[in-house]
Symmetry: C3
Subunit: 132 residues, 3 copies
């Protein structure tokens, strides 16, 4: 089963911590031990795992990504959001996290972040949990 949920983003560029949302899906899946995949079915958003203690960390990631891939350059894509597409490919469209005793097994400082690069929008998040 593919578990489908969504997240509302509030700015053009923003990281949203979706760890507890993903944990709910894992709890509901009934899988004791395995691997949880979180997949983003969008092309102007991505997903990453990084520090959830100091919110400045994901702000720094966004700032540096925007320095590397600015919004104003002479891209060919007429919609004007090529920066968002490029950032999505740099981050990737999915992450895999291990599951043990129905819990996501993350490192001490890790959270799962939805990377919005062309918001604000309502965005889909898809999960699947595979038994080990």
């Amino acid at each position: 089963m593919i578990y489908k949920s969504s997240v509302d983003t509030n700015s053009r560029i923003e990281f949203v911590d979706i760890t507890s949302e993903v944990q709910k899906t894992v709890s509901g899946s009934g899988v004791e031990n395995g691997v949880c995949y979180v997949y983003i079915p969008h092309t102007t958003a991505g997903i990453t795992i990084n520090e959830n203690a100091d919110p400045h960390v994901v702000e720094d990631i966004n700032m540096q990504l925007t320095k590397l891939v600015p919004a104003y350059r002479g891209y060919k894509h007429a919609e004007g959001n090529s920066d968002a597409h490029i950032k999505a490919s740099l981050l990737g469209s999915s992450v895999a996290v291990f599951v043990e005793n129905r819990r996501l097994v993350l490192g001490a400082w890790q959270g799962i972040y939805f990377g919005e690069f062309d918001g604000p929008r309502n965005r889909k998040i898809w999960c699947r949990v595979i038994k080990a």
Copy 2:
């Protein structure tokens, strides 16, 4: 079973839409529901999921990747293709896509792209489909 196919690229730097090729593998695998992995066994090529409606999007991704990782800098690797190796690591060597009713489940605008960074060459694509 690892399903092995290949793609011929036509330029040094190019994205090739391999979605229908991967869908054929999924159809042939007999797996109804699960996760399909697409793995690139090369070190100067990568894989990404991005927009397949406007071909300008992947051209913009290639243009910006080349701005970030130009071909001419003073790299140490004597073969002169370090730019391709670096881009391969930025994109990654595999993607995971969910499978439902023997079909890849992609977002509305998503396609799976082989990223050639040191072509033209004949390149391998490996797939495996795991039951959910």
Copy 3:
């Protein structure tokens, strides 16, 4: 079962070839055919697959990553290691490699590299092998 091992890094920024370590885990897992996940539970380190023949390749990757994400910029995160967090997200926190006859199936030139971006430290590596 999640197989937990570790690696000692020797510099602030360094790639360490962990392929043989991961192969030991696969051999010990008893899984004949499947997918091996290698997961890094840290936020200032990442993982990538790239060339293991010429060590200059990973040096070039590190050099270019550091040009793109220098250590000295005006990041907000007070610990002063935002460059490491950003590089971790660019590379990603896990890789998936196919397993056949209890062996990792890698391309001819591929090795699995732990990417240290804020060492030297003792770092954890987690693996899980799923049957196909």
